[in-house]
């Protein structure tokens, strides 16, 4: 017994020593590789965040020193703003559409297109193309598509013998129209993540199930989807945070209109904070958005953790 204990202890000593050695060995790469990203992250992410947080307690128009401390007044102004509610509602709609329409569509395409062949590769590229397009360019393209005077939609309407509405000028249609663009733009990205996941599933597993007579749908439901769980987890996370930060597609499409009905939280921030030169107000919006994103991230981790435990 005693000898075993000693042996274990000795073994432990070796492990500890080895770890120390590893630490020293990894210190050099650490010192070389960490600073660039740490500095970039600090300068372009952390400091601006701290700045925005500071601005949010001041009234400031962007020029000169920041002196006019107003406490939580900017936060009160944001929450009482007549268009803030619409902006939050729209952002939540984007989250819902991303999760309930975009991701299932991406999954369906991924499963259909996960085999390798030339025609499938072409289709995959076509679906991925919108994601590679710059957001502003995509917005401008769709502005043209939707344009009721010179666009594509009235041409389609004429062909069908009906008159299409001016969707971007209509308080009701503008939201579905934007959702269509968002889905079109980003589903290819999620599809690619899912395809990568699907291709990592060992062929033998699927083969074996097939030999056992498992139906196609059941293979998807019980083998493929569970096996790309981690890809789905990543996708859902990107979909939520991306939806909360949606900005560049809205500006060229509608600029938040008509009558402020299509603002998201970030276009609201830009319109009423930056363009009005009320940077304190803008700072308050960004802090609220940041808190929302952090809550989502933490809650998501917790939920996942709990699911994993089960």
């Amino acid at each position: 017994m005693a000898s075993i204990t000693t042996a274990v202890a000795a073994g432990r000593g070796v492990a500890v020593r080895r770890r120390r050695y590893m630490d020293r060995k990894s210190l050099v790469p650490l010192l070389i590789f960490l600073p660039p990203s740490l500095i970039l992250f600090t300068v372009f992410v952390v400091l601006p965040m701290v700045d925005a947080g500071t601005f949010s307690f001041f009234q400031w128009n962007g020029y000169g020193p920041i002196t006019n401390f107003v406490g939580f007044e900017n936060y009160a102004d944001v929450i009482n703003h007549r268009n803030f509610g619409t902006a939050v509602r729209n952002s939540l709609i984007v989250v819902a559409v991303s999760l309930l329409i975009q991701l299932p569509l991406a999954m369906w395409c991924a499963i259909a297109l996960s085999e390798r062949s030339v025609s499938i590769n072409i289709l995959r590229t076509i679906f991925f193309l919108p994601f590679m397009l710059a957001e502003v360019a995509a917005g401008l393209i769709w502005k043209f598509v939707y344009d009721g005077n010179y666009g594509l939609l009235p041409i389609i309407g004429d062909a069908l013998g009906t008159k299409m509405p001016f969707v971007l000028a209509d308080k009701f249609w503008v939201i579905p129209a934007i959702m269509l663009v968002i889905t079109w733009k980003y589903f290819g990205f999620h599809m690619m993540i899912f395809i990568a996941g699907l291709q990592s599933i060992p062929n033998e597993v699927v083969e074996a199930a097939r030999l056992d007579g498992v139906k196609k749908w059941q293979i998807v439901r019980h083998i493929k989807i569970p096996m790309i769980r981690s890809a789905i987890v990543v996708s859902v996370f990107f979909a939520i945070t991306g939806a909360l930060q949606l900005f560049d597609i809205i500006i060229p499409l509608t600029n938040g209109g008509p009558s402020h009905s299509s603002h998201t939280i970030v276009t609201f921030l830009y319109q009423f904070g930056i363009l009005r030169m009320k940077l304190g107000f803008g700072g308050a919006v960004s802090v609220l958005l940041f808190i929302a994103c952090v809550i989502v991230a933490l809650a998501y981790r917790r939920i996942l953790f709990r699911v994993e435990q089960n």
Partner: protein
């Protein structure tokens, strides 16, 4: 290592003569290609005559310009000279110390040539002169004569507000879009509200409200302006989908002969052609300018005009060369070229004399005899209040807000900005 350093130093020394050149960056918003061509030609002339100076002409589109300027002026990349509409935004910039006072460099000649109105427009409340006036602009009611004939509307009948509303209805009945409107950009809508305020409240009323006196912008005249605007909006006078149309879209729509009228600045003469499908726009003999309808009981003077008095401002680090260049550029010989081509109406004495474009001549006369030349409200009131004016105007055009609520929102913005 030493050798490399030495080589580098020698290299720098070789470059030195090039760097001794002063660079003058003039950030502008000119987007019509032929106008830009005139600008580059003028710059080439100046550079040839002044070998020590290099003039660059960075460009930003109107909306992007407004959004980026604040940051740009406080960065190392600040332009030496930039376009300005004067008013509240200019006062903010002067107060923040991002501008250079130029009274020490500015020649008496250049000062005199702008006239008192020009100098006053670029003098901040602190008494310093920070810029040079370039041009005047007026918002007018452009109309398409062919469509008036087609609908049987007599332009004379639009002299009063009631006559104007009747004409709008007549166009509707004839199946012609009465008015073009770029609702997405919002500022085109604020011309309507501003024009009504100019008519109803007049100079004294507007200035008192801007200072926050009495009921401010929630006062009777301003509510009335909203009500008149709504009277018009309820006739559904704009082109379909106007809320998604930019200024450029609306300008092209009018230029294509699809709308009978367009309330827009005199610059639309060129823009309307440039934005039209054919690039030709409405031919001169089919195009006309109507005075904005008068309103019974309005406190404004019938000669009052709304528009701009814009120019150039100098940023904090601008060199004397920058001022000298603009003095040269803004003098009659260069400015008369822009006047003759019809791009804008130069303020500099005599530069507009050779103008042959009948519309521009008419506008210049209007402004000359105006009792009050009101600056664009969204610029005069500064970005925070001006933004709200644009918002409520767009909402009024869409019949999406009450006149009382609109007036109250503007008043609140004034109170808020005063804090």
């Amino acid at each position: 290592m030493k050798r490399i350093a030495l080589a580098a130093m020698l290299g720098l020394m070789a470059l030195a003569p090039v760097q001794a050149q002063t660079v003058v960056k003039y950030l502008n918003i000119a987007s019509i290609p032929d106008e830009v061509k005139l600008m580059t030609e003028a710059v080439a002339e100046y550079e040839a005559a002044n070998p020590g100076v290099k003039v660059e002409l960075p460009f930003l589109e109107n909306e992007a310009f407004k959004a980026k300027l604040t940051t740009l002026l406080q960065s190392a990349d600040a332009p030496d000279v930039f376009h300005s509409w004067g008013g509240g935004v200019f006062y903010e910039q002067a107060k923040a110390g991002v501008l250079r006072p130029i009274e020490g460099v500015l020649s008496q000649e250049a000062k005199d040539a702008q006239g008192t109105a020009g100098v006053a427009a670029f003098t901040a409340p602190d008494g310093h002169i920070y810029g040079i006036a370039r041009d005047v602009a007026e918002v007018v009611l452009w109309y398409n004569k062919a469509l008036f004939t087609q609908a049987g509307v007599d332009p004379e009948s639009l002299k009063t507000w009631d006559g104007f509303l009747a004409a709008v209805q007549k166009f509707k009945d004839a199946g012609i879009t009465p008015l073009a409107m770029g609702g997405k950009d919002k500022w085109p809508a604020h011309f309507w509200w501003s024009k009504l305020v100019v008519r109803l409240a007049g100079q004294d009323g507007f200035n008192a409200a801007a200072r926050g006196e009495g009921d401010g912008f929630a006062g009777e005249d301003f509510v009335k302006a909203g009500q008149f605007f709504l009277q018009l909006a309820q006739l559904d006078p704009w082109q379909e989908g106007f809320q998604a149309a930019t200024y450029g879209d609306a300008s092209g729509y009018f230029g294509d002969g699809k709308a009978a009228m367009h309330l827009m600045g005199d610059w639309d003469y060129g823009a309307m052609k440039d934005n039209s499908a054919t690039k030709q726009g409405i031919p001169d003999d089919q195009l006309g300018i109507l005075p904005f309808p008068t309103i019974d009981g309005g406190k404004g003077d019938p000669t009052d005009t709304l528009g701009g008095l814009s120019g150039y401002l100098f940023s904090k680090n601008a060199s004397d060369d920058a001022v000298k260049f603009i003095e040269w550029y803004n003098a009659k010989p260069v400015q008369s070229r822009f006047a003759n081509a019809g791009y804008y109406i130069p303020i500099v004495n005599g530069a507009a004399d050779g103008m042959t474009n009948p519309f521009k001549v008419l506008v210049a006369q209007d402004i000359n005899k105006a009792h009050w030349h009101a600056l664009f409200f969204d610029q005069a009131l500064g970005p925070a209040v001006g933004g709200v004016v644009n918002d409520v105007s767009a909402d009024l055009a869409a019949n999406a807000i009450s006149a009382e609520d609109a007036a109250l929102q503007v008043k609140e913005a004034v109170d808020d900005a005063a804090n």
